[in-house]
């Protein structure tokens, strides 16, 4: 009996038991679709996080105060210490000390209430230096960024984010207007480009002012302290060298050993790793639950095939009497089971793709579907069909033709 004959016979058997076959297929269908969607959601989340971190700036290292994780697992709150200073930033910018560093921007942040145009808005005020624009990979939409001279003079000038600007000034251009922050009037000289949200929050909702002005007006007394130093490496290839230089320079300046470091240097890669590992755990967890539903679907196929063997004892006996060998019968039932699995897989795949197209607009979460995952889902559904079919098929093949023919 050729394979084509076997497939046709299996198809006939499935078609004549439409309702039952449909319900069996449904189990596999739901399992495959669930696995595809949960994995797709997880991967989408990972990609989203990765792209957000990308937006922080290329070749970026972020130095924050606070210790690294100790051996006991206790960790000093990142950013809680005030061990970083503008002096540290100036030292890192020295090419003699750190040749692989392109630019350094110290930054301090404070939540402040902004008053302008008869309205007010609370946002984060960032005190930094002109290098901030390039280090954070930002650009200026209107006007200009402040200059080094304005930093030296502690000028009351500010560059505003798009969200902040629209909250305070509506659609009107903010450049040239003044904004009051904590009783000090600032002149807005520039509008930042639109960046969107990253893991650091809305990058368009902030007011950027010279670091010296920030220290004078909103500093915590120790004027030189900063909350973050952004370091831009010269290239992606030399980023690890830049990482080492930053770390070593700060360790020797602060006079501490690596084990008791009072700062943390994180690279983009490490940020991505941390953030995506969370998404990854979630994916594995949800995918595991979906895989269980797929397993249940497979058990459904086995169950229905067993019922089918019992029901068709006479048919099996007749086929054997007419010359079907045990291996032909085995093959027939295996093909039938794997066809149920495969049909479920194909339909599940279709449902998965429909879900991938509709879910993002409902959940606001991207769903990533890969051809690899689709191919894998089909293989898995076929394997489930075969595995679930082995036991029923071997029972059918072992039936003695007389016993089978005799049964009424």
């Amino acid at each position: 009996m050729s394979w084509w004959e076997t497939v046709r016979t299996a198809y006939d058997a499935i078609r004549t038991r439409r309702m039952r076959s449909a319900l069996t297929v449904l189990g596999i269908l739901i399992g495959i679709a669930a696995v595809m969607l949960t994995v797709g959601l997880g991967q989408g989340a990972q990609q989203q996080v990765a792209s957000q971190i990308d937006k922080l700036g290329s070749n970026l290292l972020v130095v924050t105060p606070g210790s690294t994780t100790s051996f006991a697992g206790l960790r000093g709150g990142r950013g809680s210490a005030t061990t970083l200073t503008t002096g540290d930033a100036a030292m890192l910018a020295d090419p003699a000390i750190a040749p692989d560093i392109a630019a350094v921007a110290p930054a301090s942040t404070s939540q402040q209430s902004l008053v302008a145009n008869g309205t007010n808005w609370t946002t984060s005020v960032v005190g930094t230096t002109p290098a901030w624009v390039s280090v954070r990979a930002r650009s200026i939409d209107q006007g200009r960024f402040f200059t080094a001279t304005e930093v030296t003079n502690a000028s009351p000038v500010a560059v505003i984010g798009a969200t902040t600007a629209s909250q305070l000034f509506g659609s009107r251009s903010p450049v040239g207007s003044t904004v009051g922050v904590g009783g000090v009037q600032f002149t807005i000289i520039g509008l930042l480009n639109t960046e969107g949200s990253t893991i650091g929050g809305d990058q368009d909702d902030q007011l950027v002012i010279p670091s010296t002005t920030f220290a004078n007006d909103f500093g915590n007394g120790s004027g030189a302290s900063v909350s973050t130093i952004y370091v831009e490496g010269k290239s992606a290839d030399t980023l690890s060298a830049a990482y080492q230089e930053t770390s070593n320079a700060l360790l020797s300046t602060h006079g501490v050993s690596a084990n008791s470091a009072d700062f943390t240097v994180s690279s983009q890669a490490s940020l991505v790793q941390t953030a995506t590992s969370t998404a990854h755990i979630l994916t594995v967890l949800l995918g595991g639950i979906a895989a269980i539903s797929l397993l249940v679907g497979g058990i459904g196929v086995m169950n229905i095939m067993l019922v089918s063997v019992t029901e068709r004892i006479r048919e099996i006996g007749l086929r054997k009497a007419l010359g079907a060998t045990p291996s032909v019968i085995l093959r027939q039932f295996l093909v039938e089971a794997s066809m149920l699995g495969l049909v479920g897989g194909v339909l599940g795949l279709a449902l998965g793709f429909v879900g991938a197209l509709t879910l993002p607009s409902i959940l606001g979460q991207p769903v990533s579907m890969s051809m690899l995952a689709a191919g894998l889902a089909l293989v898995v559904s076929l394997v489930i069909g075969v595995v679930a079919g082995v036991y029923p098929a071997s029972r059918a093949a072992r039936l003695a033709p007389i016993d089978a023919l005799r049964s009424e």
């Binding site: 009996m1 050729s2 004959e5 006939d12 004549t16 006479r314 048919e315 007749l318 086929r319 054997k320 009497a321 007419l322 010359g323 079907a324 060998t325 045990p326 291996s327 032909v328 003695a400 033709p401 007389i402 023919l405």
Partner: protein, 273 residues
């Protein structure tokens, strides 16, 4: 089908049995022009079933020889072992003791796969329950043995249609079994038995589920096949049905006795009518 060992009548064939089968009268009107090889050759066949601690001897010392072109009826009441005999003749079961040769094949030594091949090639079954697959049309049912024989599809269809034509159902080939009368269904199963051109047609109570008209119909068909040179073994408990055969063997209590039916006594071979 030319098997050397059967050229010489073996010692175990008793004189009264071997006598009528001497080469001189096997060629009478066998259209197949066969040699003197027996289609069925059972020697001292026994079958014992074991259910729990109980042993049931369903067949005891059955010796039977059926030549090419013969038409034998095996008669017996229920429980006499005739079903067991039919299963062994049909290679659906193997004997516990003795030897059984079907068209020269020693069936006792075969595994399941080889038995399946022998059934496919050498035997055409006609069952009491028809045993047609309800989801398949008449010709699809008839082609089934050819599917397992590996015959290509176009040839299968041609041969199935031809077989249905021979049983007078040329106009019913696309009908499903439930669209046919009992007699017609049994004729479909006769066509299915014919389609592989087997050495033996084995009919197990072929008229057991039929009314008198259909019974006559099916019996006429079997007689016609016999006239065309087919070898037929018919198993029945009905006397009228058995009378249609060229010779009759009776089975009782697992033992086979032959020769209380007139044609058998006259000439156990073919062409007696």
């Amino acid at each position: 089908m030319t098997n050397g060992p059967h050229g010489i009548p073996p010692a175990w064939v008793s004189a009264d049995e071997a006598g009528p089968h001497t080469p001189t009268d096997t060629t009478t009107d066998d259209s197949a022009g066969a040699d003197d090889t027996a289609i069925l050759d059972l020697v001292d066949v026994g079958k014992t079933y074991r259910s729990g601690s109980l042993e049931v001897e369903a067949l005891r010392g059955v010796t039977l020889r059926v030549e090419r072109g013969d038409y034998l009826a095996v008669m017996g009441p229920s429980g006499s072992g005739k079903s067991t005999l039919m299963h062994i003749l049909g290679c659906l079961d193997v004997p516990t003791t003795g030897t059984y040769r079907l068209a020269g094949h020693d069936v006792g030594a075969m595994d399941e796969a080889r038995l399946a091949h022998v059934r496919n090639k050498e035997i055409g079954f006609v069952f009491q329950q028809f045993n047609l697959l309800p989801t398949l049309s008449a010709w699809r049912n008839v082609e089934l043995p050819l599917v397992y024989a590996g015959v290509p599809a176009p040839e299968r269809k041609a041969r199935a249609l031809e077989a249905l034509g021979r049983v007078g159902l040329a106009d019913r080939v696309e009908h499903r079994p439930n669209e046919l009368s009992g007699g017609q269904q049994q004729r479909v199963s006769v066509a299915r038995a014919l389609v592989t051109a087997p050495s033996l047609i084995l009919a197990d109570e072929p008229t057991g589920n039929l009314d008198s008209t259909s019974t006559a119909d099916v019996l006429a068909l079997l007689r016609e096949l016999h006239d065309q040179g087919r070898t037929i073994v018919l198993i029945t408990h009905e006397h009228d049905v058995a009378e249609q055969a060229a010779r009759v063997a009776r089975i009782f209590d697992g033992q086979l006795t032959e020769g209380d039916h007139e044609p058998t006594l006259a000439s156990p071979g073919v062409g007696s009518r």
